[in-house]
């Protein structure tokens, strides 16, 4: 899958490959230390953040966290 920024495709691929390995071999086996892909993530993030600015996205709206907060929508009460 491509990145939002054409310049970030390769960085994204490298990070995703590292993450998928970490997720399968470490995280799902109870090892939560996530330093394994940290440097790849940092480089990739620098690229993506720049690309997002160029796309003129509403970054405040992007930053909003809703899942697990009081703002999360709830299914209607079953009657």
């Amino acid at each position: 899958m491509d990145s939002i920024g054409a310049a970030c495709h390769e960085l994204k691929k490298q990070y995703d490959d590292c993450f998928n390995l970490w997720f399968s071999e470490h995280f799902l086996r109870g090892r939560t230390n996530d330093s394994m892909c940290a440097s790849l993530f940092k480089t990739y993030q620098d690229c993506v953040k720049k690309a997002m600015k160029e796309q003129n996205l509403d970054l405040d709206e992007v930053k909003k966290d809703l899942l697990g907060t009081s703002q999360e929508k709830k299914p209607p009460q079953k009657s």
């Binding site: 899958m1 491509d2 990145s3 939002i4 970030c8 994204k12 990070y15 995703d16 993450f19 998928n20 997720f23 399968s24 995280f27 799902l28 109870g30 939560t32 996530d34 993530f41 990739y44 993030q45 993506v48 953040k49 997002m52 996205l57 509403d58 709206e61 992007v62 909003k64 966290d65 809703l66 899942l67 697990g68 999360e72 929508k73 299914p75 209607p76 079953k78």
Partner: protein, 209 residues
């Protein structure tokens, strides 16, 4: 506002589904999804908390361009993976144009209580619109479309899982327990308005084919 709910069983363990989740795109049912990026990620109290941004093509008719004048639509997806409780929760919303139509979707993937080698997927969606004179029609259309395509969305994920784990069976069953809570009595929405709403809805939801 319209609310949609259904549940599905995947013939794959929760661990398999959780790994497949990150490799869901591309798949043959998601050709309109153009990009996918992780924009924040951390481990907190043993849980993996991630935010991603997805973009998709915005193929809308001329008339709709007065509401949405852009080439792409962006989607924000938050997720929490809890490996101890074998639960993955995702929460997805469209970025911008929420007054035209907002589609918020929550999906919970949990290990089946009856059979640990299966995963129960519960999907909830809230469809809303604030377009004067069209909101009922847009919501009604969005609801019908979501209901119709629920299986298609699952199909894309299942395709990815089949490729990752080729020796397992395909999808087990789909049960539709649509809890239809309609705040707007949208029954009488005109067919014309529905047909106009279709492209807007299609352009705002990433998982539709």
């Amino acid at each position: 506002m319209k609310f949609f709910e259904n549940s599905t069983v995947f013939n794959y363990s929760w661990e398999q589904v959780a790994q497949g989740f990150w490799r869901r795109y591309p798949n043959p049912h998601s050709k309109h999804v153009l990009s996918e990026d992780t924009i924040s990620r951390e481990v907190k109290s043993g849980k993996l908390i991630t935010k991603r941004i997805l973009s998709k093509t915005n193929n809308i008719p001329k008339w709709a361009k007065k509401f949405i004048n852009t080439t792409y639509v962006y989607i924000i997806e938050e997720s929490i993976v809890d490996p101890k409780n074998k639960s993955l929760v995702t929460y997805t919303r469209n970025l911008g144009f929420t007054k035209v139509m907002s589609v918020t979707e929550k999906v919970v993937y949990k290990q089946s209580e009856e059979n640990p080698s299966k995963t129960v997927v519960s999907r909830y969606a809230w469809i809303d619109s604030q377009v004067k004179g069209f909101s009922r029609a847009i919501c009604a259309f969005g609801y019908e479309r979501f209901k119709k395509n629920a299986n298609v969305m699952i199909g894309g994920f299942n395709y990815v899982l089949q490729n990752m784990y080729p020796h397992q069976n395909v999808i087990h069953s789909v049960t539709s327990t649509t809890a239809n809570k309609i705040k707007d009595a949208a029954k009488n929405a005109s067919e014309l308005a529905k047909s106009k709403a279709a492209p807007i809805y299609a352009s705002l939801h990433p998982n539709q084919s």
